[in-house]
């Protein structure tokens, strides 16, 4: 296997190319071979002005997105990075939602302009945050993630309150390549072409970057500038594509991984082959889709379908993927100021107590005024305590995963358990149309535990490599997003049921369920506190940990299982509230709690408080309408986290 072209991947590539050619012919032949018709010739018109420009769009978009993905993975040194990482599509999405609801006149400028402005603003914000720490990959990934989550949540709230007019946004979000003229692909071609050519100037600097920061700057490379330029190009490429056709998320992640798998090693080969593979993938998917679309009565947006095919592909390839370990072990952030822990805990507990009182007793009147009293206690208590328990559990689950994997992007969502639950629910909604509450819970539970079991079984053979588990989760959540996106884009009202569930509402909480959740939180968080020494030692690296006598494999397995159980329980209670699981551990650390035990406790308190506050605000701020707690939590938590990041950047 050393050197030369590897046989199996080459064969796969060959089959891919021939399949693409066959599909293309099937698609083009009818319009091409049909006899000449005088007057209006529908078949030829469609071929010339719809089918062909659409295929061209697929080629260009696939190339540009995959090139952007390869650039980002290279610069951020994170194999999970993709064009969506820096908040580009989330920013565009939010801009479109705002324009549609509040400034429909702006759409007259063209949706692509609005989307481009949104994408640019989001990316600029991420870069501004990154610039404060010399464009360090960690800061960029984290701020991209947070800004993406925040704008995603804000857009979701707007959609939630106005879902009837948002179908066009869903179509955009699912990435439809449909077009009725050559205008769009031609414009895209010259814009992305210029940016792609500019990448040529970065080949050498990017190669040097491979050596590591110190070594590269020793050779005279300006690290910050190189990173900034590469990121700007990647952002530009993906923003142009996204604004033109919508979100096509998965290609940019999978194509560079595939390119590596096929043996592309050096930077120029990697960038070029990623682009070509991406173009081929998107072209094939879209050609297939255009052929198949005739059989379905509804729209099949390419972006969503790509993800539906791409995620299983990623899962299949996972065992062959060689992920450099050091890609995940990054220089840790500068240690935070460590305050007096006892005072810190006292403050957190006091804040939680105040929040609980507010959430339980302070509410709105029908007329709009405020009232303080216990009359609605029986309606509020189940919601408040469900939020509390779920917030604490997800926070601890996220903390376990971040400590286990050493990846800042890890959260319960990334474990795939919540995606499994959502898939289960989607299946239920699809089979039963209007399933009752018990049926919804049953299907979601089935999905969550199926994924959990699959992860545990599949990782028993490999040595439970954390990065594999993360990629499984990412593939699964992409699959879920795509399926829901597909349903939503056709206007299918059932998609709203799933979207609501995904936004994590406490509406369905019952007294018995809330009690059960609180009990589960105590039972499951306790072992996490007891495992504090493992959690302190495992981040020292598997070598050191096992030299000290920790059974690394079984310890990891047990902690993963615990994280899975925590996230599954919370997800079944309130839905997949991924924000809390991601943010609470970061917030706890930024507040100065850095050791496992104190960080666990602080994260649990922070997560609980965040969810209780989110639920209360969601219930009161637009009363009598209600915003799901999961979305409010992201809207509240994200700016808070950015503020803390900023503050630390200055010192």
């Amino acid at each position: 296997m050393s050197g030369g072209i590897r046989l199996l991947p080459a064969l796969a590539l060959l089959i891919g190319i021939s399949a693409a050619a066959a599909l293309l012919w099937t698609l083009i032949a009818p319009g091409l071979l049909a006899p000449e018709v005088s007057g209006y010739d529908a078949a030829r018109m469609r071929l010339l002005h719809s089918t062909l420009p659409r295929l061209a769009t697929a080629l260009i978009a696939g190339f540009a997105l995959s090139l952007a993905g390869a650039l980002l993975q290279q610069v951020l040194r994170n194999p999970l990075a993709s064009p969506t990482t820096l908040g580009v599509s989330a920013g565009a999405h939010l801009a479109l939602a705002v324009a549609m609801l509040f400034f429909p006149v702006l759409l007259g400028l063209g949706r692509d302009v609005v989307a481009l402005v949104g994408a640019g603003l989001a990316a600029a914000l991420v870069m501004a945050l990154g610039a404060r720490r010399g464009f360090s990959p960690l800061t960029l990934v984290l701020s991209g993630l947070v800004i993406g989550l925040w704008s995603g949540a804000l857009a979701a709230v707007l959609i939630y309150l106005n879902d009837r007019r948002m179908v066009s946004l869903f179509i955009w979000g699912a990435g439809s390549l449909a077009t009725q003229s050559w205008e769009a692909p031609l414009a895209l071609l010259w814009k992305t072409g210029l940016l792609a050519l500019a990448c040529g100037f970065l080949l050498r600097p990017l190669t040097l970057l491979e050596l590591g920061d110190e070594e590269a700057s020793a050779l005279g490379l300006k690290l910050g500038r190189t990173r900034f330029l590469a990121l700007a190009l990647a952002v530009g490429l993906s923003a142009l594509v996204t604004s033109a056709v919508g979100v096509i998320g998965f290609i940019g992640l999978v194509a560079p991984l595939l390119a590596r798998l096929l043996g592309a090693r050096r930077v120029p080969a990697l960038l070029l082959s990623s682009g070509l593979i991406g173009a081929l993938l998107l072209l094939t998917t879209d050609a297939l889709l255009q052929i198949v679309a005739g059989m379905f009565s509804d729209l099949l947006p390419t972006g969503a379908v790509t993800a539906i095919f791409g995620s299983p592909l990623l899962l299949l390839l996972l065992s062959r993927l060689k992920i450099r370990r050091e890609a995940f072990v990054r220089a840790p952030p500068a240690p935070p100021r460590r305050g007096d822990l006892r005072t810190g805990f006292a403050l957190l507990c006091a804040a939680l107590a105040v929040l609980l009182v507010l959430a339980l007793f302070l509410g709105r009147e029908t007329g709009g005024g405020w009232s303080f009293g216990a009359e609605m206690l029986s309606l509020r208590a189940p919601r408040v305590f469900s939020a509390l328990a779920a917030g604490a559990m997800l926070a601890v689950s996220g903390l376990l995963l971040q400590r286990l994997t050493g990846n800042e992007m890890a959260s319960p969502e990334v474990l795939g358990v919540s995606s499994g639950a959502t898939l289960g629910l989607a299946l239920g909604v699809f089979l039963l149309a209007t399933p009752g509450f018990a049926a919804q819970l049953g299907f979601a539970g089935l999905g969550a535990f199926a994924v959990l079991a699959a992860i545990l079984i599949s990782t028993r053979r490999s040595a439970l490599a954390p990065e594999r588990v993360l990629l499984v989760g990412i593939a699964l959540s992409a699959l879920v997003d795509a399926l829901v996106g597909l349903m939503a884009a056709t206007g299918d009202p059932r998609a709203l049921t799933i979207l609501r569930w995904m936004s994590g509402s406490t509406y369905g909480a019952e007294a018995s369920g809330a009690a059960l959740l609180c009990g589960a939180a105590v039972v499951l968080i306790l072992p996490a506190l007891l495992a504090r020494r493992w959690l302190d030692l495992l981040p020292l690296g598997p070598e050191t940990a096992s030299a000290l006598g920790i059974p690394v494999r079984s310890a990891r397995l047990r902690l993963f299982a615990l994280a899975g159980a925590l996230s599954a329980t919370a997800t079944l209670g309130l839905g997949p509230l991924s924000f809390v699981g991601l943010m609470a551990p970061h917030l706890a650390r930024e507040l100065g709690f850095s050791r496992a035990a104190s960080q666990t406790a602080a994260a649990a308190l922070t997560g609980a408080g965040l969810m209780v506050a989110a639920d209360w605000i969601g219930r009161t701020v637009v009363f009598p309408w209600q915003i799901p707690a999961g979305l409010t939590a992201a809207l509240l938590g994200a700016p808070f986290l950015i503020l803390l990041l900023f503050r630390r950047g200055r010192t």
Partner: protein, 266 residues
């Protein structure tokens, strides 16, 4: 040239016909060596001689494909995870970053084999931690973050953790590689002192033959996965043996007033 077998197996490592092959490539071939209690032994050899692999096998970080590895008269595989860590401490060549940990917290990690995941952190544990920090001369740095320490301080912090582990045997993979001469001397004297005063078995993988001869009781030299020389430092320090180990013409002098001889490249 195999050194005399030490009669007592207590607190000693004994290797019998140890072999290791990885993907058909033989890394180690029939290595038979002893590492007696209370002695400091150097593992010498040039790059790729198999010395690090041998140390990893002794530390149970890798498994020998042939032969037996005995600690205290028992096969190393027979010990439980923590039981082994109480006996044998190991310092890998590259250490984790210890994000967000203070020096004292890092050194306290060394007590894990004793208190385990749930046991109480006792006063005894606290004393061992303080002693470990004191021994490496980092007293007063307890509350500093490990990330903020200099390279030499960090190296000593990890050795302090190893000392706090309170094991009977210390295995170190090139512990002085990142240190300046003064710190090298400091660390090696520390280890030598421990082996003499506390009767610890110390095994150090090293490059530098003069440092080895100056501080170690015994030297085992490997080449191409086989033992080429083994014995008291003084016996190894001959031009013939050194040529055998390093494939370079070397000579040895005995400066007046210095116990250990000095080797130099001709």
């Amino acid at each position: 040239m195999v050194s005399e077998a030490v009669s007592s197996e207590a607190g000693a490592f004994r290797l019998e016909g140890v072999g290791l092959s990885v993907q058909g490539r033989e890394i180690l071939r029939g290595v038979g060596l002893s590492f007696p209690k209370g002695r400091m032994t150097a593992l010498l050899g040039h790059n790729g001689s198999g010395k690090s692999s041998l140390l990893r096998i002794m530390a149970r970080r890798a498994e020998a494909t042939r032969g037996a590895v005995l600690w205290d008269g028992r096969a190393v595989g027979a010990f439980g995870e923590r039981a082994f860590a109480r006996q044998v401490a190991w310092l890998p060549q590259e250490m984790g970053a210890a994000p967000g940990m203070t020096l004292r917290e890092l050194v306290a990690c060394g007590r894990y084999p004793w208190h385990g995941p749930l046991g109480r952190f006792t006063e005894e544990d606290g004393r061992k931690v303080a002693a470990g920090i004191e021994a490496v001369g980092l007293g007063g740095f307890e509350e500093r973050f490990v990330q903020t320490l200099s390279g030499g301080e960090r190296q000593r912090a990890w050795i302090a953790m190893m000392l706090a582990q309170d094991a009977r045997c210390l295995l170190l993979d090139e512990p002085t590689a990142a240190l300046d001469v003064a710190h090298q001397v400091e660390v090696l004297s520390l280890l030598r002192g421990l082996s003499q005063e506390k009767g610890l078995t110390v095994v150090v993988v090293m490059h530098e033959v003069n440092m080895a001869a100056r501080f170690c009781d015994l030297i085992h030299a490997l080449k191409g996965g086989e033992v080429v020389a083994s014995g008291p430092a003084a016996e190894i320090m001959t031009p013939e043996t050194l040529r055998l180990i390093y494939d370079v013409e070397m000579n040895v002098t005995h400066p007046p007033g210095r116990e250990a001889p000095i080797a130099y490249v001709v």
